[in-house]
Amino acid sequence: MRRMVRKNYLLPVEITARLRSMVKSGRYATESEVIRKSLLHMIDLEARRAEEVSKELDGLAEETAKYLPKGKTAGQLVDEAHLEESHGS
């Protein structure tokens, strides 16, 4: 089991740390079971992080929408900003 967390396996630090604690706990019988559980845990963490980022962006979009003019598209706003800078109007 020790071989699994050796440096030449190139596992990310987070997974290696998690594997160590799982191996030490003695709850898992095989290497593959430990790796599977560990990867599932990482995937779950990533999914939660993605949800948080999406929620944050949705909140920011709602707040930003209060200011942005309704009659203009995103493309038109960028275009107008370019023109404003070119002509200083």
């Binding site: 990533e46 999914a47 992080r49 993605a50 980022v53 999406s54 944050e56 962006l57 949705d58 920011l60 979009a61 709602e62 707040e63 930003t64 929408a65 200011y67 942005l68 003019p69 203009k72 598209t73 995103a74 493309g75 706003l77 960028v78 275009d79 107008e80 900003a81 370019h82 404003e84 800078e85």
Partner: protein
């Protein structure tokens, strides 16, 4: 999939209008690791200018950029990109900013470009993108 967002696609994430859901979906999938989203560092300045044009407070514009920066890779402006853009300004009769976006997109070998900019969806740009096997996603058409 490897996407490229121009400045208008970045602004679209915060504009509740046609095409926003496409941007939202791709950004969410990228945060799950399903895609890579690239843009150019210069687009951050364009984004800021558009936010100011829309009277969005600076603090909110900065928060928006920080949140986008957690998902989107803002690539540096290199001399190679500028050289490619110089050719596109003449070849396709493009504005400087549009030429820089197009040059960056092909330089980074992106597979699709998202835009809400009418200058980026002309026939000559479409042909150029086809030549480089880049799919054009026109957000005005609510894909």
């Amino acid at each position: 999939m490897r996407y490229y967002f121009d400045a208008s696609a970045l602004v679209k994430r915060f504009k509740l209008e046609k095409g926003q859901e496409t941007v939202r979906k791709i950004v969410h999938e990228a945060s799950l690791g399903a895609h890579e989203i690239h843009s150019i560092y210069w687009a951050r300045a364009e984004f800021y200018a558009a936010m100011r044009r829309g009277n969005v407070p600076q603090e909110l514009a900065a928060r928006n950029l920080r949140a986008l920066g957690r998902i989107i890779l803002f690539n540096p402006v290199t001399s190679e990109i500028v050289e490619d853009a110089l050719n596109l300004i003449y070849e396709l009769n493009l504005h400087t900013a549009d030429a820089v976006h197009l040059a960056t997109c092909t330089n980074l070998a992106c597979e699709a470009i998202l835009t809400d900019d009418e200058h980026m969806v002309g026939e000559s740009v479409k042909k150029h993108l086809e030549k480089h096997a880049v799919k054009l996603i026109n957000l005005k058409e609510n894909p």
